[in-house]
Amino acid sequence: MTVVDRPASARPHSAAASRAHGGDAEDAPQRVLMKGNEAIAEAAVAAGCDAYFGYPITPQAELLEWMARRMPEEGRVFVQAESELAAINMALGASAAGARVLVSSSSPGISLMAEGMSYMAGSRLPVVLVNVMRGGPGLGSIGAAQGDYLQATKGHGHGDYRVPVLGPSSISEAIDLVREAFILAERYRTPVMILADGILGQAMEPVAPTFKTLAKRQPDWILDGADHREPRVLKSLHLRPEDLEAHDIELHEVYQQIAANEIRWAGERLEDADVLLVAYGTAARVARTAVERLRDEGVRAGLFRPITLWPFPAAALREAATGARVVMAVEMSAGQMVEDVRLALEGAAPVFHHGRMGGMVPSPDGVVDTMRRVLASSEEAAR
């Protein structure tokens, strides 16, 4: 699957056509089967991740295990921390010292990392955090879910900050987005989150065996000892309100730049769509199959798939929904991203939601059924 990296106003892109390998046996043996968790880990290794910190939790444990083997092989830092709290703070320290850092966890552990993310955002420290989401709230279930969307995109830790959030929907896309996440984290000196789920983490798909590398940077803010220069201080504390406001304004200028330059999304069969499904991650793949089935029934359905969940591709969605009779969000949650869909459309089209939660995943037929009911009721209302 191709990552679309273009401004929100650009023409929609059909990802479905981009990697149809059917019968193309010539280059097939070059690809290997990899588990999502392992592919994400190896993508980080290839991208020059210097340090990894984690704690075991299902369904992301293979990511930790992969790094436990690979990082020492490469002479890099791996620490299995005593908690997710410790892991994110080890990341904070390593990032301050100039390391390219990855941390990973699943929903309950991500909650524990919220504190550290806030401090890292406030201290302008880059890090890539992978959330392989499971069911919640609380201990929830270990099944795949998307119930952390609001946490990831609206808040997470305390305070006035944002974090770019990338939602891969296939393993090969996850590999691309890990590298993208490091680029964004370093370009804007910010934490970046990869929002995956248990299915993406546990599934295996074919991937190209060699992953892209990423050149090392030489930033002028890292801590390596104040040798023949002024000491540097990395901190989030600005006790005087006027100082903190100035700092927060600076942060928000960065977020505006990110929102202006880094929006990513993909679309499928949007050209003539008058029924629009909006979904990300694993739910987007369910929605893709639902789109095909709706098309088989003569419904002109299309799929809009946000890749950056923050910043949300609102303008592109608005454009894609122009002329749509119905827009429906498909999520593995009780309805979280749908709020962003409504905000983006500003009432331009009626917005519905189809969700399963707790580790249950929407089925394509479930999506089609809901859409049929939505269409029937909207036709009735039109009469």
């Binding site: 921390a81 709290l85 410790a86 703070n89 390593a94 301050a96 010292a97 100039g98 401090y119």
Partner: protein, 276 residues
């Protein structure tokens, strides 16, 4: 000779000089021990020639502004997490000298897991643990290290061990761990103890440079405002009461054959590969 002319080396000797690493006057309360500990750190690092390769990991509490007074590369930690942050810094930059500066609320309450596990892993950084038995910054509440019976704003009738538990001797506890190569408790109660405190800090950084393991110096200190005493009374209480409850001394210095006088853990710390 006018007053404006500097005294040359030939004419006199320096008997007082602010360490170069002590960059600004501190803003601590009169009689607070933090200023003494800052100065000792500045002196030790300067004498050892480590200033340009040292990274300070700050914490939350009254010493949160330590980076304003010590001219060192510094990173701030969330409350209690300094040992985890220092782990990240030191693992990525093993060639640098890394130390945390933490109070007793930070280290012995909210940061207990981080300090214990950093010590258990034998992380190669140094911990400067300033224990004044109270949460100074937030208004003098009870800390894990508050003495039995001691009145604080959150133990107004005195710490009742039946409901509020016993003081936590963190440094003794840590000294049990094989990864801890140096653990000492010192005090700033009087000039003699201040001198010993400086020696302990120096030793702790030496151990770090030897790359052998974890090192911690607990410095018993004062909080006149939080204790409701004058600076002089606070120093007297430190000497007569606090040091009685928390004996000073070197608990572990493995490089010099000083092992803990406490029960040793069994063979659990030996690698299982030894038996094969």
């Amino acid at each position: 000779m006018t007053a404006a002319e500097p005294v040359t080396e030939q004419e006199g000797r320096t008997i007082y000089r602010r360490p170069l690493l002590l960059s600004n006057p501190t803003s601590y309360c009169p009689g607070c021990g933090h200023g003494i500990v800052h100065r000792l750190l500045a002196e030790v690092l300067e004498e050892m020639g480590l200033g340009a390769k040292t990274i300070l990991v700050g914490s939350v509490g009254c010493s949160v502004f330590a980076y304003d007074f010590l001219a060192l590369d510094s990173v701030e930690s969330p409350h209690g997490r300094a040992a985890a942050v220092a782990t990240g810094v030191k693992r990525f930059r093993p060639d640098k000298v890394v130390f945390t500066y933490q109070g007793d609320g930070d280290l012995a309450a909210i940061g207990t897991a981080e300090i214990v596990h950093a010590a258990a892993r034998g992380e190669r950084f140094t911990v400067v643990f300033v224990n004044n038995g109270i949460y100074g910054m937030t208004g003098g509440q009870m800390a894990p290290t508050t003495l039995a019976g001691q009145k604080t704003t959150s133990s107004p009738r005195g710490r009742d061990v039946a409901t509020q538990g016993y003081p936590l001797p963190v440094t003794e506890m840590l000294s049990l761990l094989p990864g801890v190569h140096y653990a000492a408790r010192v005090s700033v109660a009087d000039p003699g103890h201040v001198g010993k405190a400086k020696q302990a800090l120096r030793r702790a950084f030496e151990v770090q440079l030897e790359d052998k393991g974890f090192s911690i110096v607990e410095v018993l200190s004062t909080c006149p405002v939080g204790w409701g005493l004058t600076p002089t009374e606070a120093m007297e209480r430190l000497r007569d009461i606090v040091m009685e409850a928390y004996p000073v001394g070197t608990f572990v210095d493995r490089g010099r054959g000083i092992a803990p006088a406490l029960p040793q853990p069994g063979a659990a710390h030996r690698s299982i590969t030894e038996g094969f």
